[in-house]
Amino acid sequence: MVTLRINGEKHTIDVAPDMPLLWAIRDIIGLTGTKYGCGKGLCGSCKVLLDNSPVQSCVIPVSAAIGKNILTIEGTSENLQLLQESWVTLNVPQCGFCQPGQLIAATALLDKNENPTDKDIEEAMIGNICRCGTYQRIKKAIHKTVELKNQHS
């Protein structure tokens, strides 16, 4: 039995400790917002925050997440929420499948960098593939979120 804390809620589940966190979240706990895209740490679709750091949940075992705070796309954080709003305003998603991972990566970026440059964004988002090619809007939406934040503070 392992206990995971996801979006502030505790889940005790019976899985092998080497099961990747992704499958525990999706198939055992039933939160399907986190996506499978490659299973090899190549695409970023499965990104979640583990104690505020972005990880590819398809390659880290459940055991590595015990005792940590896990944030998935279904959860809330200030930056995540603001980013989601910009994403909607700018019509970022096309098929939408990669977007949970993109939003989690962007949240991690804004959590540690309040004013990212284009280059910072590129570095933070390099691990996330979007086959539909929404990158330009993702970049814009991150900048827009920062602008809105700066206006309000």
Partner: protein
């Protein structure tokens, strides 16, 4: 055009998934052939529904799959606009796969094109009925009432909400007369519109195929033969059965149909991970079959040889031999393009639940009706026993119009007597796709003293999509030839020939299809000719397209060279073609007509230390009337990235019949740090709406190659560019 009826009081509304109670209009949109329309007029069989409820909510049933092309938003906005409805009150329901919804296949960039007029008419009729209802209620002439933003207003200023008119409107006949709005009054059509699904996407709430769950559902992974159509000789499942969570392992046969299952060994488990692990632990001996001799290197050499000799003549106008004989200059080039894999972000997957002779499916499919038919055939059951629920699609690009993965789920659900979800790994997806064709093309042209093209020979060899349906077909089919023979160039002597190419994997359509190889060779070759003629590529191209004319391509829509030149002129203006660019930077251009739309792109690259970077892409599209501007823009932005991925990285190869690539590490995609700025201009037009999802792709790769030439003087004829070490 089809009849629209008021079916508010009919009993069958429940069967289409609408609660009864509101005002419901229905019609049949089978606009495929005249014959079908007449048939349907006799036996009214509606497929498009709009329901207005007394609380004002407006439900529209979307019959097409959503796969990132904004169909749900675009189609519904058309009705809402004509109806003067409030966009915030619109709810869209996804139709199941059923003939009653008309053709649902989402491909060929045609959704909006086919449904545009019917949707407008339906909205206009609903509006007219609401106005009549208000007039009746107030005892005033309808001409004194107007509808706007979900209200009907009388000239006296009295106002009533759409919802409050439902009871009266329900009792009315559909009007014989109604007026369509003038395009200048459109409120949603042609405007930037918030996607109705964006909210769900960003919160992780949209349910894709992979997200579907049923109680007691089994998760299944399947090991398929590395060589196409190979079969299982024997297997040892002992290690796989030891994996925690693995419940059973069974062999499944191949279903020998174009969209049939490939067959293999299925691992049934209590979660996806266990199924994947179990699959890896299987020891299988395969009978590889005939395709094990497939080696991409030798194959490319063979088809290349086939285009270097006389092929089957597909078109022969004027006298090419004479043109070549009298030439001032002869130019010839050979182009080689590899297979591509769709690799949509969401792998193929499907949930099926077979109970007795009934079956319900939940799947990300671009072709719900084709899927339904496959399931009916497989189960040998009748139509009403099969329901196909269309989930969100995590990308399709043509892959998800082939429901082999659904057939697998159905086979296994039947066998196991339980609901199952078949999940392909990314490796399965890349190794067992219906690949975009591999091609060799040879072009030869003659120039006269003034640099005009006098003769054009285009010979190509590529395994045809038709081979998937008729095994053994080894020449390109009519539609594959058409994109070469309908080239909008004004050349007197032209010959198109096809060479032999036998398919050794499953070939399928992939976003832009045959326009990828043809758009590439034609645009690069035209650029080569321009330099050979000592002319600016732009000037040369405009001259090659020739004077304004409308060409009959034996299609419903004729192409218009003025519109083609227009998009070219737009990008030339936007990019300021000819201006001084920074050192090592250069522009390249390409223009292509496909899916009845006209697209031109100018790409700015820099080449430094033999590494290419794309800085800007200027694209202009003329796709007739634009329903949702922002969707078109998004599709052009996405097309630029899709086109760059195939230009720089796209390459699928076989060795001894097995595909060598497996995942995003060796089948690479463009990522955030590589993207250019994409600038899109959409031509304002009141022509019929045409394709948007695909026509933006074919111009990108040739424009890049042309720009690299301008920057370096080196001409690359083959893709991907990573093979030349350019990235």
């Amino acid at each position: 055009m089809s009849t629209i009826k008021n079916i508010s009081r009919r009993t069958f509304v429940k069967s289409i998934g609408l609660a009864s109670g509101g005002l419901i209009l229905a019609c049949n949109t089978s606009v495929f052939s005249e014959k079908e329309i007449t048939k349907n007029l006799v036996d009214f069989n509606p497929n498009l529904f709009v329901q207005l409820n007394s609380d004002g909510s407006l439900i529209l049933i979307a019959s097409r799959s959503e796969m990132g092309n904004g169909v749900r938003t675009s189609l519904t906005s058309i009705i809402a606009d004509e109806m003067e409805a409030d966009w915030n009150k619109v709810i869209v329901k996804q139709a199941t796969g059923d003939a009653k919804y008309g053709d649902q296949n989402t491909d060929g960039s045609r959704s909006v094109r086919y449904l545009y007029e019917t949707m407008r008419k339906m909205g206009a009729m609903a509006k007219a009925m609401l106005i009549s209802a208000a007039a009746k209620k107030w005892q005033v002439p309808g001409s004194e009432c107007t509808a706007k933003n979900h209200f009907v207003t009388h000239s006296s200023g009295e106002k009533i909400g759409f919802g409050d008119l439902v009871e009266i409107a329900k009792t009315l006949e559909t009007p014989k007369e109604y007026v369509l709005k003038s395009p200048k009054d459109f409120k949603y059509i042609g405007k930037k519109l918030r996607s109705i699904d964006a909210e769900d996407y960003v919160k992780g709430k949209a349910i894709f195929g992979l997200d579907k769950r049923l109680p007691n559902m089994k998760f299944v992974a399947i090991a398929r033969c590395p060589v196409t159509f190979g079969t299982v000789k024997s297997f040892d499942k002992s290690e796989a059965l030891k994996v925690a969570g693995v419940e059973a392992i069974i062999e499944i046969p191949r279903v020998e149909k174009p969209f049939g299952a490939l067959g293999g060994v299925a691992v049934i488990a209590s979660n996806t991970w266990a199924a994947f692990k179990g699959k890896e632990a299987l020891k299988i001996e395969w009978d590889f079959g005939d395709n094990k001799s497939y080696n991409s290197k030798t194959y490319m050499a063979e088809i290349t040889a086939n285009v270097h000799k006389q092929g089957k003549v597909a078109k022969d106008v004027g006298n090419i031999n004479k043109a070549f004989k009298n030439a001032h200059k002869i130019i010839e080039s050979t182009y080689q393009l590899p297979h591509l894999s769709h690799a949509p972000m969401e792998v193929p997957n499907a949930v099926a639940w077979v109970q007795g002779d009934s079956c319900e499916v939940w799947a990300p499919t671009q072709a719900p009706q084709t899927t339904r038919k496959e399931v009916i055939d497989y189960l040998k059951t009748s139509e009403e026993k099969v329901t196909i629920n269309v989930t969100f699609l995590g990308g399709g690009f043509g892959r998800k119009s082939k429901p082999d993965y659904v057939v697998e789920a159905v086979m296994l659900s039947k066998e196991l007597n339980a609901p199952v979800q078949v999940v392909w790994t990314r490796e399965d997806d890349i190794k067992h796709d219906y690949y975009h064709t591999v091609s060799a093309q040879y072009l030869k042209a003659s120039l006269d003293k003034n640099g005009n093209v006098t003769g054009w020979l285009h010979r190509f060899a590529l395994p045809s999509i038709v081979s998937t349906f008729s095994p053994g077909v080894d020449y390109a089919a009519g539609f594959e030839i058409a994109s070469a023979s309908n080239i909008p160039f004004d050349i007197k002597n032209m010959k198109i020939e096809v060479g032999k190419a036998l398919a050794m994997v499953r070939i399928g359509w992939l976003r832009s299809v045959i326009n990828i190889p043809h758009g590439f060779s034609e645009n690069v070759f035209a650029d080569e000719l321009a330099y050979a003629a000592n002319k600016d590529p732009l000037e040369f191209r405009l001259n090659l397209i020739g004077k304004d004319r409308i060409e009959d391509t034996q299609n419903e829509i004729k192409y218009n060279t003025a519109r083609l030149k227009n998009v070219l002129k737009i990008v030339v203006k936007n990019a300021e073609w000819g201006k001084q660019l920074p050192e090592n930077h250069a522009y390249g251009l390409a223009v292509h007509y496909s899916f009845y739309s006209y697209v031109a792109s100018i790409v700015e690259v820099s080449v430094i230390n033999k590494k290419v970077k794309v800085h800007n892409v200027f694209t202009a599209i003329d796709c007739g009337t634009v329903v949702n501007k922002d969707t078109v823009k998004a599709q052009m932005e996405g097309s630029a990235i899709f086109g760059m991925s195939l230009a720089f990285y796209g390459k699928i190869t076989a060795k001894d019949g097995a595909i060598e690539q497996s995942n995003y590490d060796n089948y690479k995609m463009i990522r955030m740090h590589e993207i250019p700025k994409v600038h899109v201009e959409i031509v304002e037009s009141s022509e019929k709406p045409t394709g948007v999802g695909e026509p933006g792709v074919p111009v990108i790769a040739p424009a890049i190659v042309n720009a690299i030439f301008k920057a370096t003087g080196k001409r690359y004829h083959n893709l991907p560019l990573s093979d030349y070490g350019l990235v």
